[in-house]
C-alpha cells in the first residue's frame, strides 16, 4: 500500500496540485556542462553507486510481524521531543549528503545548487532510494523542498533566492507553510491575517493553524491580507517569515488521536522586511497556487509507517489470533479490503510507469489519495470489527487496543491535503467539465463577505 511520504502532512485542505502540475519539468539553464550524467542509464548507475556506498538496502518482507515487536499501529508520529529532534538531525544530515552527491535537488537550476535535470529523473531517484533504509527526510522535503523551494524560485527576488534556496537544499533551512487559518480552510483565499506596510517593513498580525513542522521550521511562507477592499483573491500577499523572529509564537495543536503533529502559529506584530515578500503586493494568490501546484503527487512515494501493519500477512494474523479466519463475513470483508488496496497499488504502479515514460501526471494522484483515505479507513474499521470489545478498553492483548490509534487517525486522511469534498469538486470540474457552483465571492470586496468567526471549523 502506498502512503504519503514520511510523517509530514500539509493540512491545507486545497488540492490543486495533481491537475495543474504540468510544468515541473525544468532543464538546466546554465552554459556549463551538466554535472550529472545525461542519459537515464548513466543516471541510474550513478544513483545506485551513491546509494550502495552510503545506505543499506531494506530487508525483504515486512518489518512488523503479527505478534512480535512494538504493539503500535500508528499513522501519526508519537515521538517524544528528543526523539523527534534526533530524527530531524538525521534528516538534515542525509539531505546534505545526497545534495553533495547531486541528488538533493534534482530538478533545481544549477546556479542554486540543483542538478538541472527533469521530474522524471527525480521520480526515478525516489524509487531507487525507496529500496534503501535511509532517514526519512519528510520534515525537509514534503513542504520546504517540494513546495516552498519552487515557490521561492518562481517568485522570490534575487536576494531571497540566493539566501534561502542553497541552504534549504543543503538541509540547513527547514520551511513550513503558514496558510490555513481558523476561518480559512477549504476556502483558503479567505485568509484574514493582516500585513500592514510601514516603509520597508511589513507588520504581520493573525493566527495560522494546522501548520505541520512549524516547531522545527526556520522560515515560514505566510499568506496575508494586504487589501480587504479588493475581492478576496486580489488582496493577498505572500511573505517569507523568520520563524525565530519576535512575535512568532508556535503552539502545538493536539489532535483527536492524542499526539500533536500540527501547530497553531500566532503572529503578533511580526516585522518582515519587504525584501522577503514573494511576488507583487496583492498578487499572493498566484504565488500560493505555485506552492499548491507543487504539492507532491503521493503516488508511489516513500515507505509508509502503517504499510506493514496493513499487509495481508498481518491482517491474516489478526484474523487467526481472533479465531475468525474461517468466519465467512470476516473473510469477505478481508477480500474486499485487499481488492481495493491492491487495485490502488496497481493504479500507483501504472502512474509511475507513465511518468517514467515521460507522460505528464494525470488525475490518478487525486484518485489515489481518495482511495488511500478510504482504504485506510476501511482497514481500521475492519480491524475494529475483528478485535471487538477489546478495542473498548486495553486488556493488554497484543494487536488489540493498539488499533485504536489508527482508528482515531483515519478521519484526518479525508481532510488533510485537500478535503474529499474539494478534491471531488476539482475532479468533477477540471476532468469531467462540470460547471462551477455559482458564487459572487470572487468579485465582492473581501470586507463585505460574510465569514465564519475565528475559532470555528477550518476545513
Amino acid at each position: 500500500m502506498t502512503a504519503m511520504t514520511g510523517n509530514v502532512h500539509p493540512l491545507t485542505p486545497v488540492g490543486y496540485k495533481q491537475l495543474e502540475d504540468s510544468h515541473r519539468t525544468r532543464t538546466a539553464g546554465g552554459v556549463e556542462a551538466p554535472p550529472m550524467p545525461s542519459t537515464m542509464d548513466d543516471f541510474v548507475r550513478s544513483a545506485r553507486e551513491f546509494l550502495d556506498a552510503n545506505a543499506e538496502l531494506r530487508g525483504g518482507g515486512p518489518e512488523i510481524e503479527w505478534g512480535s515487536g512494538a504493539d503500535r499501529i500508528a499513522y501519526f508520529s508519537a515521538d517524544p521531543p528528543e526523539v523527534a529532534a534526533e530524527k530531524v538531525r538525521a534528516a538534515r544530515a542525509w539531505q546534505r549528503q545526497r545534495h553533495e552527491a547531486g541528488f538533493g535537488w534534482i530538478t533545481g537550476p544549477e546556479e542554486f545548487g540543483g542538478a538541472g535535470l527533469t521530474t522524471v529523473h527525480e521520480i526515478v531517484y525516489a524509487a531507487l532510494e525507496a529500496e534503501y533504509a535511509v532517514p526519512d527526510t519528510g520534515v525537509l522535503s514534503v513542504i520546504g523542498l517540494g513546495m516552498i523551494g519552487p515557490t521561492i524560485l518562481a517568485h522570490g527576488n534575487p536576494e531571497t533566492r540566493e539566501r534561502y534556496l542553497p541552504s534549504m537544499y543543503r538541509g540547513e533551512t527547514i520551511a513550513c507553510q503558514l496558510f490555513s487559518e481558523p476561518g480559512a480552510g477549504s476556502d483558503l483565499a479567505g485568509v484574514e491575517t493582516r500585513a500592514e506596510r510601514d516603509g520597508d517593513t511589513w507588520l504581520l498580525n493573525g493566527q495560522k493553524v494546522w501548520t505541520s513542522i512549524a516547531q522545527h521550521a526556520d522560515i515560514g511562507m505566510a499568506l496575508c491580507r494586504t487589501d480587504p477592499n479588493k475581492p478576496k483573491h486580489k488582496g493577498i500577499t505572500a511573505f517569507l517569515v523568520d520563524m525565530k523572529a519576535p512575535g512568532v509564537d508556535v503552539r502545538p495543536l493536539r489532535q483527536m488521536s492524542g499526539g500533536a503533529e500540527f501547530n497553531e502559529v500566532f503572529l503578533s506584530d511580526v516585522a518582515v522586511p519587504d525584501s522577503h515578500r514573494l511576488g507583487a503586493v496583492d498578487d499572493g494568490w498566484r504565488v500560493a497556487l505555485t506552492t499548491l501546484m507543487n504539492e507532491r503527487a503521493t503516488v508511489g512515494g516513500g515507505h509508509s509507517p502503517v504499510a506493514d501493519a496493513l499487509s495481508l500477512p498481518f491482517l491474516v494474523g489478526l484474523l487467526k489470533a481472533n479465531g475468525r479466519l474461517q468466519d465467512t463475513a470476516a473473510r469477505r470483508a478481508l477480500a474486499e479490503l485487499y481488492s481495493l488496496q491492491t487495485a490502488t497499488e496497481y493504479l500507483n504502479r501504472q502512474a509511475q510507469r507513465r511518468l517514467r515514460a515521460g507522460e505528464q501526471p494525470g488525475p490518478e494522484a487525486s484518485v489515489s489519495k481518495l482511495m488511500y483515505a478510504q482504504n485506510l479507513t476501511r482497514c481500521a474499521h475492519f480491524a475494529a470489527d475483528v478485535v471487538g470489545p477489546r478495542l473498548v478498553a486495553d486488556t493488554g492483548a497484543w494487536g488489540a487496543f493498539s488499533w485504536s490509534e489508527l482508528l482515531l487517525s483515519v478521519p484526518a486522511l479525508r481532510i488533510l491535503g485537500g478535503t474529499e469534498e474539494i478534491m471531488k469538486n476539482i475532479l468533477a470540474e477540471r476532468v469531467l467539465g462540470l460547471p462551477k457552483e455559482p458564487g459572487g465571492d470572487s468579485s465582492t470586496p473581501f470586507r463585505e463577505l460574510r465569514r465564519s468567526g475565528t475559532g470555528g471549523g477550518t476545513a
Binding site: 481495493l340 487495485a343 490502488t344 501504472q350 471531488k424 469531467l432 462540470l434
Partner: protein, 374 residues
Amino acid sequence: MTEPIGQQELDELRHGVHDFLTAKSGHDQVQRLVDTDAPYDPAVWAQMAEQLGLQGLGLPTEHGGDGYGLPELRVVLEEMGRALLPSAFLSTVVMAASALVRSGDEAAQAAHLPGIAAGKTTATFAVAEGYGSWAIEEIETTARRVDGGWAVTGEKPLVVDGATADLVLVVARTPAGPSLFAIPGETGGLTRTPLRTLDLTRKMARLVFTGAPATLVGREGGAQDVVDHVLDLTATALAAEQVGGARACLEASAAYARDRRQFGRAIGSFQAIKHKCADMFARVQLAQAAAAEAANAAAGLPDAPPLGVAAAVAHSVCSEAFMFTAAENIQVHGGIGFTWEHPAHLYYRRAKSSQLLLGGPTVYHERLLQRLGV
C-alpha cells in the same frame, strides 16, 4: 507469442474499434436487437473479423490468429463494453478459444481456431452446473466411451450464447476426472433452450445432453487446469468489458449533468451531482488500473503480478465499479433514466449480470482468498 504492441498502436486500435462500433453498434442498433430478441448482428460479427480482424487478434499465429494477448484484447473489450455490443465475442474468442489453446490439443486447435479467427465459427464453453458457479465439484455431467468416440449426458443450465454457438466445449466427468469435450452445436442428443435473461445484450441457454456425440479435447481428466486458467482469463476479459461499461455510464452522467438544467442551473453545478460523478470517475480509474494489470499478468509481462490474484482483484473491483456507476447513472438521469428507451437500464442489466456470471461476490471474494493462499 507476438511482441506486445506499444501505447501508440494500442490507442490507434482503440480508436479504430471505437469508430467501428459507433457506426455499427450505436444505441439505435443495440435497441433494435433488444427489441427483436436477436442475439447479435451477424453482419457486424463478420465485419469485425474481415475488416478489423478482432476475433483473431489474440489467437495463435499458427492457427490463423495474430498472436497478441490480453493487453491488446483489453482495449477491444473495453470498447465493446462501452458500446454494449451484443456479440458472441466473450463466449467464442475469450472462453472457448482460450480453452482450446490451454488444452494443448493441437488437432482440436487446428480444427476450430482458424474458423474462430476468421469469424466463421462461434463457440462457447459450458462449465457451470449446480448453483451456477464454476466450481468443478458441482459438475455431474458425464461422458462415456462409445465406439470410436465419446457420448456426453447431463445438463448445463447457464451457457453463454449456448443456443447459437456452432461449437460447444463442455466439461464432463469420466472415470479419469473432469475432462473437456467438443460437441457441434447442431447435433442429435443436444437440446438447446434459449432463456429469458437479465442482460438483454448477452444471450444464455440451457443445454441438455442426452448421449451427445463428443470428441475429447486434450488429456482425459485434464479439465481442471483448463477451467482454472480460462476462469482467470474470462475474469480478466470481463473486467475490461466492465471498465468500458462503467466508463460509458460515467460519460453519460457527466454529459447529462452538463446539459440538464433545473432550478435555473446545470444540475452538474450542484455538489450532490458533482460528487456522484467524481465518485464514478474514481471507481472507473481504479477499475481500469485493475483490469490493465490483470491483462498484463495474463500475458506474463515482466513486472506483472501473478495472474490468479490480479484476475480475482480485477473481477471484484471492476464488477463493483460497473454496478456502482450503472446505478448512479440512473440516479443522475432521474426519471428519464428509468425509461425503457433510455440505455441506462441496459448497462444496469449488463453490470449485475456480469457481476454474477462467474459466481457472484460471495464466490469471487472467496476465490481471491484461495488464490492468495488464505
